[in-house]
Amino acid sequence: MANGAQKYENIISILKLVTDLSPLAVALIKQLTESMQGKSDEVILAEASDTFDRIKAKARTEQRLPTDPEMGM
């Protein structure tokens, strides 16, 4: 079982980790929220759709397969 000093050190380490990570996490959440602000559902879904199309095209190239005709590319 950890003694008092060890517990104190553990708590300090956790607090340090939280303070180190939180600005990054907050920045990420803020960035994501801002990037989505003012965008309609339609625009967000259109962006997702474009990304999925791009992934599929790249995956087929990597597999040395022809482009999927259903993608209309």
């Binding site: 967000i44 879904l45 962006e47 759709s49 990304t51 199309d53 599929k56 995956a59 597999q63």
Partner: protein, 144 residues
């Protein structure tokens, strides 16, 4: 006359409920759309990381092809989820697509990465795939 008016109001209310129920234009659909967009971006990061690992010689050609095939399937399911929300306004359709994607991801986590030679690459890819899995479970939770 009063009965007829009450009947008309009830009919209009019933029609309104019938029309609004399957359309699900609520905030959870909006949040799910944002999370599915996150899923798309995360999946692209997994794909790019795997291609880099393959180019560095850490993933064999056969494993690379198998992983890219799985990634293609995942993108197809993602596209199905987008279509379900965008065109059909269907939560059920989106959840079904997400469930299929979760099955693919679990297969990838259990078997797909066994052939990745470099431990650092394997750990990095696993972490990214777990992040992708997290976005999917979040999207599903928002839709259910």
């Amino acid at each position: 006359m009063r009965k007829r008016k009450a009947f008309s109001v009830a009919l209009v209310l019933l029609l309104a409920i019938a029309v609004s129920a399957p359309s699900c234009s609520d905030s959870s659909l909006r949040q799910a759309s944002v999370v599915i967009n996150d899923f798309a971006n995360s999946l692209e990061k997994v794909q790019d990381a795997e291609i880099i690992a393959h180019n560095q010689g850490f993933v064999s050609q056969s494993d690379h092809v198998a992983i890219q095939a799985t990634i293609e399937n995942l993108a197809t399911y993602g596209q199905s989820a987008v279509t379900a929300i965008r065109v059909q306004k269907s939560k059920v359709g989106a959840i079904a697509a997400i469930d299929s994607a979760l099955v693919e991801i679990d297969k990838l986590l259990n078997k797909g990465l066994l052939g990745v030679k470099n431990e650092q690459s394997k750990a990095g890819l696993t972490a990214l795939i777990l992040a992708v899995r997290g976005t999917l479970t979040t999207a599903k939770a928002l839709l259910t």
